[in-house]
Symmetry: C2
Subunit: 122 residues, 2 copies
């Protein structure tokens, strides 16, 4: 299935501002926000983003989070399916990194037509 966020960036999802959003758009946006709305997952994103190469494997994340390895894998899975993380398996390790401008895209969907010009994809 296509990473939730991809369905938002590609075929425009209604931003929160402007005309009332449709039920389907609300569901999609809520789905991605739900992936963000968890302390453990926010810390995961933060940890990965601030890691040496901007990437981290599961074994590096369990300790700082204080969660079991299955639980961490579970959260990483949710973030990945939401389109916020990408996974690359090198040998025995699975490295996760942020999808370039995924979070910025969400932020743009929330903020009204401010004076920013970050709407273009890459």
């Amino acid at each position: 299935m296509g990473t939730a966020l991809a369905e938002m960036t590609m075929p425009q999802i209604s931003p929160l501002a402007g005309e009332p959003i449709e039920r389907a758009d609300a569901e999609r946006l809520a789905g991605v926000l739900k992936a963000l709305a968890d302390p453990a997952r926010l810390r995961l994103l933060s940890l990965i983003q601030s890691a040496p190469e901007g990437e981290a494997c599961v074994c590096d994340l369990t300790a700082p989070l204080g969660l079991s390895q299955p639980t961490v894998s579970h959260h990483l899975r949710i973030l990945t399916e939401a389109g916020l993380l990408e996974r690359e398996k090198r040998g025995v390790w699975a490295y996760y990194r942020l999808v370039p401008s995924a979070i910025a895209t969400i932020a743009d969907l929330l903020t009204p037509p401010r004076k920013r010009a970050t709407k273009k994809a890459r």
Copy 2:
């Protein structure tokens, strides 16, 4: 009664970028995002924001949402406690409107590497 968001805008809450976020900050940010991460509440915000005077009462919101009046009141309560809505009671009606830049604040917390000078680099 800190309306959650007030604790984010006023004192500093760690944005998602930069150094790894603390557990307490993650909890606060997740709390506000949780209020956003619901289809019904997203539609409520959208409906209120696009209403004639930028405000709406409960009776105007139940129909377009297709939810019962108690449920709508429940969602409005959550959004208000999160600091996203403000409530004003005029006569028998309760009018809700968006807190000016609440959502923009959340967006800024998600995407600091912007040109914004939200706070010290590090």
